[in-house]
Amino acid sequence: MRATHFCEACGKVQPPAPVDYFTFFGLPRKLEVDVTALNRDFYELSRKLHPDLNARAGSQEQEWSLQQTSRLNDAYRTLKDPIKRTHYLLKLEGVELEEQSKSATEEARATGQTKKQIVPPDLLEEVFELNLQLEELRMQKKMGEDDAALIEEIGRQKVELEAKQESLLQELKDRWKIWDGLIQREQNGQPVSEEERKQERDKMVDVLNRRNYIRNLVRDVSEALEN
């Protein structure tokens, strides 16, 4: 059931209900989301809730319209993006990925050390090699040199990393199916143990962490190539 955002009879905007983003759109707390339908609902709700279309309403309704629309936009932004959506669901499940990352960043700052990055074991060797090459490229650029072979080699690795990033997204989507299966089982009245849930959550966290690592790497490579 979608939360009530406006009066079905008179179309007036209602006060925002304190619900999560899934409930806002009337979606089950599952990770596979029909983005086309989500898009359609976003436009439909915008046409009812947006402040521009409620500019002549009373001040209370205008305030609700503003609150509701900001909530709608926040929910849409989060749910349409596969990574943000997974993060959000994990947060609802009590996993504070963002907090972990923040406290790691703060600790690194406090101690003056670089932030500890867990390198995915299967990438250790490659990453080590790549970082050396990036260092060399930056040095060369500073000196005004241009090593075409090195640039080509790094470019090739960038393509590989992007493919890796893509495959990790696919891996994440496979995990969604398993998670959604658990939720479905629960809805069908079959119990799901906390142990089972935790296991699936941890696996998703692991994929997200690995993907995040690759993404940062791709960003560094792009920057080094562009500058």
Binding site: H50, P51, A55, R56, K102, E106, R109
Partner: protein, 633 residues
Amino acid sequence: MATDRIVGIDLGTTNSLVAFMQGESPVVIPGDDGSNLVPSVVALDENNQAVIGNAARGLLISTPERAVYSIKRLMGRGLEDVQEELKFFPFRLAEDLHAGEVLRIKLGEKAFTPPEISALILRQLKRNAERFFGGKVTKAVITVPAYFNDAQRQATKDAGRIAGLEVLRLVNEPTAASLAYGLDQKQNGTVAVYDLGGGTFDISILKLHDGIFEVIATNGDTHLGGDDIDNLLITIALDDIQGDLGSDLRKDAEAVQAIRKAVIEAKIALSSQASTRLDIELPGGKRYQREITREQFEQLIQPIIDRTVGPCKQALKDAALKPEQIDEVVLVGGSTRIPKVRSLVKELFHREPHTDLNPDEVVALGAAVQANILGGGSTATENMLLLDVTPLSLGIEVAGGVTDKIILRNSTIPASATQFYTTQVDGQANVAIHVLQGERELAKDCRSLARFDLKGIPAMAAGMARIEVKFLIDANGILHVSAREQRSGKEAEVEVQPSYGLTDEQVEGMILDSFDSAEEDFRQRQVIEARNEAATILAALETGKKSSAWGQLTTDEKKKIAKLEKALIAVNDEEDYQAIRKAIDLLNQGTMRLAELMMDDAVSTALKGKKMDEADVGEGPSAPHPVAKAEFE
């Protein structure tokens, strides 16, 4: 309805315009000199009266120290931000300015803040519209560059308020332009709007979807435009003159304005000619003459127009689109008349840009469309809805002077974010929050928006308080902050110190003609209310005449009522609300017995088991004849 008349205003760096929706299409309202464009120039004449627009342009040449142009460049900015501008613009800052304070610009001996100067331009537009409509205009939609930050937007809104306008919405200029274009060409697709005006540059990428105009990404530079081209040409001319004639005219404000006027004319000429001739009369009767070809001009301005490339590429990247995926490119702003700019855009987006609408007017026309939507819409704007984004990320300063981004750029607005704070020491009652806007990692490199003090936190042990702070960017792109201590449920007081803004009290004190217009507003409201009341009593009388009670009145009574009715109708069209009220009172008294009779009828009918509303309203021909009335009694 007259009371709902909302105008659309383009408050430009070089020119300003006011437009409104006339039936199905937006039109620009001309000034009393017949011109659609009001130059954004403000001057004080010898009597210290403000002169605006074309009239002020003359004073800019004759008494430059009493005039100002391009004030938009200073909106929402502090002393530290404008050092670069001061090298090129003849802004005369008040001598007693301090860092962090709102700027004040001197016109003659008087000093004004940028919002006050903008308000004078807005008031001129308001007057033009009022003259056109023959009635009050109090509500407006005002456009701002998409890349304007919070302080610049707030300053624009303040200017509206000072001018006596309720600013219903700030709309981003390129988005407004897309509305004006979209009105004619209802279609779906991806559109890029390249807006290079007098002082600002914006690029916005939108998706059009069945009337929804959804901005996907925006970028820009709020200090890049035709002004920069002018300043470059002025500098070259001044160097030339010094070389040729040995006189440094930099300090000669009059001469500089004469040169500025000439180079602008040359710039415009070069958009349609292969070459032009600068011919300027200098003080002392000497002349500065120089031939300039389009090729030379294009070489000179290349570095300036190249500065638009970076923002365009970033916007495409943020939208995750390749140039080939853009269906249409729209050009907005006077500087897009320059052929070299057009070819640059063509190269960037791999297609010929649209130039069907006048690039000077399209933003104002779009503002009028948005005004129409806010006013409840019409057949022309049915189904149209604008979904815009915030151009810059919003962040909070955290430990180590680092920016923690909480709302990312290109998020659809309104957008919100919630942060939790706690206290560091036992019994701490205040928490300070520093809000920033920008993309840089360090707080010092971002724009400081405001410092918020959360006050009145209930006494608790350190770390026990849990203060929820909600940041909300509204549909104008302006930030609102609210806070609540969660354990006690107590609203924390949020005290804002805007970094370069005016306080509410300051704005209040600046409102132009506030007394006059308040009185006028009051009078108008009284007239409207009196007329509404007159309409009600006249309608009731019509009903009464058809009722059975009417037949029970004497001929004299009927004559008297007819006379009073005529008297009310006669004064109803006049602007004198007191006269209307008096006529209403007299008619009320004169129809007292009619009302009583009608009431009696209604009651007796109700007693006979009929519904009240059937009984007390006679229904024209089928209503019971007065004579037949007796049978009820």
